[in-house]
């Protein structure tokens, strides 16, 4: 547009630049701190001139927090959670948007409400369920008397058991069970032209084929956007993984931060802590940077 607004432009540029500094500052501090030795990092105030210990610190953090294995676990964990969410959310949203059956709205609300109560709050009972994911069904059988019935009839004691502690499944499943994805997918499906479903019907395809052949592939940008958001979100999960994985073989990277944070009883080697932080925060950052283009596009089509 032929618009000359030099003053306003300057204000914008300044605001954006301050924004940029604000956003980058923490990154810079983490990076600089990761280059210092233990003494320099504890000097008050810390020097912003990078030191020369970056690789030593990175190496030390890598070894100390066993990051090789933990990063691998994190990728597996975050990737599966994100993929699971994408798949289940798209299916649930499909049911909500494309079918008319009684209780459909109730279902939507049942799913939607899960957005609102953080895991932190119901962590203990959730943990108990994770110890035996079939416990609810067992309880239902017990309460309804079916267990008793089976036992009296066949003499068999019904005992459903599926422990998920210290397993990838246990790490992953409870985090898949939330609503954000369903919500986003629903928004997207509502923007898909009706004619597409009708064309598919005319072409002879039923709901399953329509979902598999048309809807799912169509939602690729949304899939990428959701996957990115969820990957980042899962990667950064802290409390649940910390709780559910006591076996270091299943540990993930972020919870390793606590092994890097200097405790009151240890050396204040913030340089190593920050080097570890750097390594641990890099993958989601890289994912966001790589996916950025698709990401914004995916959200545009969901929003409107």
């Amino acid at each position: 547009m032929v618009e000359r607004t030099p003053i306003f432009n300057a204000i914008c540029q300044i605001v954006l630049f301050i924004g940029l500094l604000t956003v980058l500052l923490p990154f810079v501090i983490v990076i600089v701190a990761a280059t210092h030795d233990i003494r320099a990092v504890n000097t008050v105030p810390m020097s912003m001139v990078p030191g020369s210990e970056l690789f030593t610190n990175l190496h030390e953090a890598w070894v100390r927090a066993d990051l090789g294995r933990k990063l691998l676990n994190s990728f597996l964990f975050a990737g599966t959670v994100a993929a699971g969410k994408v798949l289940l959310s798209s299916m649930a949203a499909f049911a909500i948007v494309y079918f008319r059956f009684p209780g459909r709205m109730l279902m939507f609300w049942l799913i939607f409400i899960t957005l609102m109560l953080p895991l932190e709050v119901r962590i203990v009972p959730t943990y108990a369920v994770a110890a035996n994911a079939l416990a609810p069904f067992q309880a239902i059988l017990n309460i309804t008397g079916i267990t008793w019935l089976i036992q009296t009839v066949s003499g068999l004691q019904v005992k459903l058991e599926w422990g998920l502690l210290n397993s990838y499944t246990g790490l992953i499943l409870p985090l898949v069970a939330t609503a954000t994805g369903t919500f986003l997918y629903r928004q997207f499906y509502l923007t898909v032209p009706d004619e597409l479903a009708e064309a598919a019907k005319m072409d002879g395809s039923g709901p399953v084929r329509f979902f598999v052949d048309i809807l799912f592939p169509l939602s690729k940008p949304n899939m990428i956007a959701l996957f990115t958001i969820m990957f980042v979100w899962s990667w950064n999960q802290y409390l649940w993984p910390m709780l559910i994985t006591t076996d270091p073989n299943f540990g993930i990277a972020v919870t390793q931060l606590k092994h890097l944070i200097p405790s009151e009883f240890g050396l204040p080697d913030w340089n190593v802590a920050m080097a570890g932080t750097l390594i641990i925060m890099a993958p989601p950052l890289i994912v966001v940077i790589l996916m950025q283009r698709w990401f914004v596009r995916g959200l545009i089509s969901t929003e409107k």
């Binding site: 032209p193 597409l196 019907k201 005319m202 072409d203 395809s205 048309i214 169509l218 690729k220």
Partner: protein
Amino acid sequence: MSSIAIKGVKKAYAKNAVVHGVDLEIATGEFIVILGPSGCGKSTLLRMIAGLEDISGGEIWIDGKLVNKMEPRARGCAMVFQNYALYPHMTVAENIGYALKVAGVPKAERMKRVAATAKVVGLEAFLDRRPAALSGGQRQRVAMGRAIVREPKVFLFDEPLSNLDAKLRVAMRAEIRRLHRRLGATSVFVTHDQTEAMTLGDRLVVMNGGRIEQVGTPAEVYNRPATRFVANFVGSPSMNLMEGSIDRHGVFVYDEQRRIPLPGAIDARLVGHKVTLGVRAEAARLVAAGTPGSLPATVDFIEELGAGRVVHTDFDGLSFAVALSDPAAFETGDTVGVMIDPADVHLFSAESGARINALAQLPPVPVAS
């Protein structure tokens, strides 16, 4: 035998009736165009034939089978949508072949049929492209191809040309026409563009407000519109319509200055009744002001059409269009005389809008001032 029979079909959305009992028989191989203004229920009717919409009342028969409860895929119809509804993530070949794939046609056979279809619609060179990389006309052809490939008994078109630009619309019209001649399948084509309707249809079905106003060949509909609505809707510029009444002398009275004699003897029962008189723009002539038998008017503006022109005149606020093929000898603001041949007059009941038939068929009578 008729290919499609529609018997008293009704449609209501949650008590809101939008199609009020439509009856229509379509012969095998016929090209039927459903014409009507936006919201009149054209698409709804078409979609009920396709099976995309439940039928609230009446019956639809296709090829002798009652299809009311049949799934879309079982009815043997193919549909071309207004926005084409192409699958954006599939190539042209995949789009065309999708119905075959769903039907489980083996790949080799499928590819053969897709190739054959692509040839018919002239898309051989584009089979690997995605819809996004095609022009409007090409997309339209893919939609056609998708319909053709299934060799359906019936083609259904829902305004398939309305997203194209003017020039392309004319070209695609010709193409659809040619295709129909070649394949000979029964076709139902919905549009609100009367030129499209006129040029395409073997028969037109003019709808309004959920009802059929007239069914007939394009010439019938144009020359003998069954209702005032049809008269107004079909033809460009629209037929000039005037409200008035018939006096004892068999003269149409618009106001004291403007009286138009009507041809033939007037049914006595019509005298004094309110009627609408219609004259097509090309049926009227412009003459010098004051010419006997002419009605006085002023030239409002002139539309140049290249091959002709339309002079919009003004009868004290009522506008009246006259089409001329010769260059106009008048300018905006001139006073002129409008000459109407009683033989070209259409009369409609002001009350019901129905054509009053007797009149136009009688021999012309000299004009009295």
